[in-house]
C-alpha cells in the first residue's frame, strides 16, 4: 500500500492547484500568510506563490466573510479560512444574509463561489471555545452546502465539487485529521477496503470484502471516520460486521449510492462529534426515514458527544467527546444480525459495555472512568495517590506549540508552596507563562530549568507535607515507604547553567533546523568592491537615500535572479523544486535583542534609492520592534551582513526554506599588482556563499560569485 500524504498536505496541495488554475481565486484569513501559513499550516506557501491574492486579514470573521461576499459578487472565487470553526458564529450574519442570499436575491441567479474553511473538533485539549463541531448550526440555509474533509476523499475533488455548484459552501476540517495520513489505493488496512459511491464520489464506503454477515452501517463524517473505523475493527473481533460510510458533502444530504447498502443492512447508526439535538445526524435520519424506510430494519440511531462544554483537561475532554468506545457500544447494543439475511431482529447479544461507558440512549455519552484502570497501581502499591502528591503539569498554553521551555523554577526544590502560588515559568513561542501550584505542599522538581517540556507533561509534583520527612531525619518512618521522594526532596541540586534568552533560543531553533535539514556547502570569493562603494556614494548623493555596500549587493543579488534561478528556488518536502517568480531578498538585522530576517520583496523591481528606503524601513521596524510576520515572509535568498570591523569571511546559516545565503563581511583594503607591473589600492570583500548542495553544485556557486563580482565591479 502506498504511503499516503497527510490530510493537511493534501488540502494544501489542493489549494495550490486551485490557485494555479483559477487566477481569480482569493484566500482570506487570519495569519494565513507565510511563514506562519495558518494556524494549522494548511495555507503554507500560498502567500509566497500568490502574494497578491492570499491575504492575512484583521481578526474579524464577520469582516473577512463580508469581503468574500463582495469579491464573489464580482465573479471571483474566494476561500475563507476561519482559524477555528468555533468563531464561525461571528461570520453567521454575512453567511446567512449576504453570501447565500446573493445567489438568488437580485432577480437572476448570481454565482457565489465562496468556500469557508472551518477547522473543527476537539481532541487537542484546546478547550471550550476552540474544540466545537458547529456544523449543525449551518444546516438548512438556502444555497449553502456543507462539506467535511475526510481521510478517504481527495481534498482537490471536494473543493472542486464545492465550487462547481457556484454557490457558497463551508468545508469543515477536523483538526485531528490534519496530521493523519490519507487512505489511498482503495485500502484502509489489511482487512478493510474502501470504494467511492454516489455522484462525485460523494460517499466513501469502508468495508470488509470477505465479510458475510449483514452489516451494521455507521455513517460518520470525516472527523469521526477513523473512530468509526476503529469501532468497526473492534466489533469485527466480536463477530459483528460493520461498514463505515463517510460523506464528503454533509448537506444537502444525498442518499444516492446508498440504497443497495441500506437494503442489506442490519442497522444504521449516525455518529458525529457535535452535541445532540438538531444535528446533522438527525437530518440524515429524517432523509433516510423519508426516502428509504421500506429498506430499513429499524429507526436510524444517533450517537454524539455529551451535552457539555468541552473541557481542556485531556481525560475530561475524552469523556465528553464522541469516541471509539461510544460508537462500539452503540454497535454492540444492536441485536446481532443473523448470518443469513432476511430476518428482522433476532436474539440480542449481551451488551458489551466497555468499562466506564454508559450504555444510555441515543445521544447518551461516555462518562469518566470510575473503575480501576489497568494502568492504575494495584492496591498493594507502595504509595497512595495522595501521598505521591499531585503533578505539576504543563498545560497546553499555546495551541500552535508542541513544546515549551521550562524557563525557571520560581520556588526552590523542596520548599513549601501554597495553593495558587506561582512555582515555575514556562516560555511558549508567544509568551512566558507562570504555572501555579494546584495545592499546598512541598514542591519536588523533576525537570531542570532550561529543558523542553511537552504540553501535558509533568515537570514536578507537590507532595503533602506529611509525606516529606523533616530535614534532620530524612529517612523517618512516615516517608520510608517513599524512598524516591525521600531521596529527591530537599537533596536535589539544580543542574548548573542557565536557559538561553528567549530571542537567542529562537535563533537556536532556526540554526538547529537548518543544520538538521540542509546539507550545506560553502564557497567564498574575494571581490573588488571599489567601484561598488563609489557607486553607492554617488547614489546616496543623487537620491538622498542611505545607500551603502549592503544595498548595492542586494541590488546585484536581485539582478542575478534570472541568470541563476536555481539559487533562488526552493526544495519542497516532497523533493520538488519550486522556482521563485521574483527575487525576494532577506536581510539579517541584528538589533542586539534579536536577529531578524525581514524581506525585500521583488527586489529586482526597485531602483537603488527605493531599495535603500525599503532597507531603512525594515530596519527601523526591527529596531522599534514592529516587524510583522508579513515583513519576514517570502524570502528566497538571504544576504547576511557580517560586517563587524575585522571580519574577513563568514559562513552564513541558510534559513529553512531558502537555498542560498550570501555573507557580506567587513570591507578591507589591499594593494594589488596592476597588469603593467604597477601597484594600486583597492577595497575588497570576501563574499561567502552557503548553498544547499541538493540544489546547487560547487561550479554553480563559483560561477554565481564570479558573476556577482562582475556586477559589483561595473
Amino acid at each position: 500500500m502506498t504511503r499516503a500524504e497527510r490530510v493537511s498536505r493534501n488540502l494544501n496541495r489542493a489549494l495550490h492547484a486551485l490557485f494555479a488554475a483559477d487566477e481569480r481565486a482569493w484566500l482570506l484569513g487570519e495569519d494565513v500568510a507565510d511563514p506562519y501559513g495558518g494556524a494549522f499550516k494548511v495555507t503554507q506557501g500560498l502567500s509566497t506563490a500568490y502574494p497578491d491574492r492570499v491575504l492575512s486579514t484583521p481578526l474579524s470573521e464577520n469582516g473577512i466573510t463580508g469581503v468574500a461576499g463582495g469579491l464573489a459578487l464580482c465573479g471571483d472565487t474566494v476561500i475563507v479560512e476561519i482559524m477555528f470553526g468555533d468563531f464561525a458564529g461571528l461570520a453567521f450574519d454575512p453567511i446567512l444574509n449576504l453570501i447565500t442570499k446573493s445567489v438568488a436575491m437580485y432577480g437572476e441567479r448570481t454565482p457565489m463561489r465562496v468556500v469557508i474553511r472551518c477547522p473543527v473538533g476537539g481532541g487537542r485539549g484546546y478547550g471550550a471555545t476552540h474544540s466545537q463541531s458547529p456544523q449543525k448550526h449551518f444546516i438548512g440555509i438556502p444555497h449553502l452546502a456543507l462539506y467535511e474533509l475526510s481521510p478517504l476523499h481527495d481534498a482537490a475533488d471536494v473543493l472542486a465539487a464545492a465550487l462547481r455548484r457556484d454557490e457558497p459552501a463551508m468545508l469543515f476540517e477536523d483538526k485531528i485529521l490534519y496530521t493523519q495520513r490519507r487512505y489511498v489505493d482503495g485500502r484502509v488496512d489489511d482487512r478493510l477496503a474502501f470504494e467511492s459511491r454516489g455522484a462525485d464520489g460523494n460517499w466513501a464506503r469502508v468495508h470488509d470484502p470477505d465479510a458475510t454477515g449483514a452489516p451494521t452501517l455507521v455513517i460518520a463524517p470525516g472527523g469521526v471516520a477513523n473512530r468509526a473505523i476503529a469501532a468497526a475493527t473492534r466489533a469485527a473481533e466480536r463477530g459483528r460486521t460493520v461498514e463505515v460510510l463517510v460523506p464528503a458533502r454533509l448537506y444537502p444530504v444525498d442518499v444516492d449510492g446508498l440504497r443497495d447498502l441500506l437494503a442489506g443492512a442490519h442497522g444504521v447508526i449516525v455518529a458525529e462529534e457535535s452535541t445532540a439535538g438538531g444535528t446533522w445526524g438527525s437530518e440524515v435520519a429524517a432523509r433516510l426515514h423519508a426516502e428509504a424506510w421500506p429498506l430499513l430494519r429499524g429507526p436510524v440511531e444517533l450517537v454524539s458527544s455529551a451535552d457539555r462544554v468541552i473541557p481542556s483537561a485531556p481525560h475530561l475532554e475524552q469523556a465528553v467527546l464522541l469516541g471509539t468506545d461510544a460508537i462500539l457500544d452503540r454497535i454492540m447494543r444492536l441485536p446481532a444480525a443473523p448470518v443469513a439475511t432476511g430476518d428482522r431482529g433476532g436474539p440480542a447479544d449481551a451488551p458489551a459495555t466497555p468499562a466506564g461507558v454508559s450504555p444510555g440512549v441515543p445521544g447518551a455519552v461516555p462518562v469518566p472512568r470510575t473503575d480501576p484502570s489497568p494502568v492504575d497501581p494495584p492496591p498493594s502499591a507502595p504509595t497512595t495517590a495522595a501521598q505521591a502528591g499531585v503533578p505539576v503539569d504543563v498545560p497546553r498554553l499555546n495551541p500552535n506549540d508542541d513544546s515549551y521551555v521550562l524557563l525557571e523554577w520560581l520556588v526552590a526544590d523542596g520548599a513549601t508552596v501554597e495553593t495558587g502560588e506561582p512555582v515555575a515559568a514556562v516560555e511558549t513561542s508567544k509568551a512566558i507563562e507562570e504555572l501555579a501550584a494546584t495545592r499546598a505542599g512541598v514542591l519536588r522538581q523533576d525537570v531542570a530549568a532550561g529543558v523542553d517540556c511537552a504540553p501535558g507533561a509533568p515537570i514536578g509534583r507537590i507532595l503533602p507535607e506529611s509525606a516529606v520527612p523533616a530535614p534532620p531525619e530524612p529517612l523517618g518512618s512516615p516517608a520510608a515507604a517513599y524512598p524516591e521522594q525521600v531521596e529527591a526532596v530537599g537533596t536535589r541540586t539544580a543542574t548548573p547553567g542557565r536557559p538561553l534568552p528567549p530571542a537567542q533560543r529562537r535563533i537556536a531553533d532556526v540554526v538547529s533546523t537548518s543544520h538538521r535539514e540542509i546539507p550545506v556547502a560553502f564557497t567564498a570569493m574575494r571581490v573588488d568592491v571599489t567601484a561598488a562603494l563609489a557607486y553607492a556614494r554617488r547614489a546616496a548623493d543623487e537620491t538622498g537615500a542611505t545607500v551603502g555596500l549592503t544595498e548595492v549587493v542586494i541590488a546585484a543579488v536581485a539582478a542575478l535572479h534570472e541568470r541563476f534561478g536555481a539559487l533562488y528556488a526552493r526544495l519542497t518536502g516532497d523533493g520538488l523544486v519550486v522556482d521563485a517568480e521574483a527575487p525576494s531578498i532577506g536581510l539579517t538585522v541584528d538589533v542586539g535583542t534579536g536577529l531578524f530576517l525581514p524581506v525585500i520583496r521583488d527586489a529586482a523591481g526597485l531602483d537603488l534609492g527605493d531599495l535603500a528606503d525599503a532597507v531603512v524601513a525594515l530596519r527601523m521596524k526591527a529596531l522599534r520592534g514592529r516587524l510583522r510576520e508579513e515583513d519576514m515572509a517570502g524570502m528566497n535568498f538571504l544576504v547576511a551582513l557580517n560586517d563587524t570591523p575585522g571580519v574577513t569571511v563568514a559562513r552564513p546559516i541558510i534559513p529553512p526554506g531558502v537555498t542560498c545565503a550570501l555573507s557580506v563581511p567587513d570591507v578591507h583594503r589591499e594593494v594589488v599588482l596592476d597588469g603593467d607591473g604597477g601597484v594600486r589600492e583597492r577595497a575588497v570583500a570576501d563574499l561567502g556563499l552557503a548553498y544547499d548542495h541538493r540544489l546547487v553544485n560547487g561550479a554553480q556557486a563559483g560561477a554565481y560569485l564570479a558573476a556577482l563580482g562582475e556586477v559589483l565591479q561595473r
Binding site: 549592503t550 527601523m620 529596531l623
Partner: protein, 77 residues
Amino acid sequence: MSSRLVRLVADVLELPVDQVDAQTGPATTAAWVSLRHLQIVVAVEDAYRISLTPREIRTVRSVGDLRALLAQRGVPE
C-alpha cells in the same frame, strides 16, 4: 562636550566618549554603518521622546546634525 547626546552615540557605536564629537558621522567613523545609523536614530527618538521623519533620518550625517535637529525641535540636549 560629553553631553547626553554624545554619550548616547558613543554607547551605540561602542566607542569611548572622548572619540565622539560634533564631526563624528559615517564619513569619519567606520563603526557608523547604516544599521548603526538607524540604531542611533532610534536611541535619540527614545531618549528625547521625538520622532524623526524619513527625510531627517536620511539627512542626519553627524552628531552635529543631530544636535542641530534637537535645537530645531526645541529639545534641550
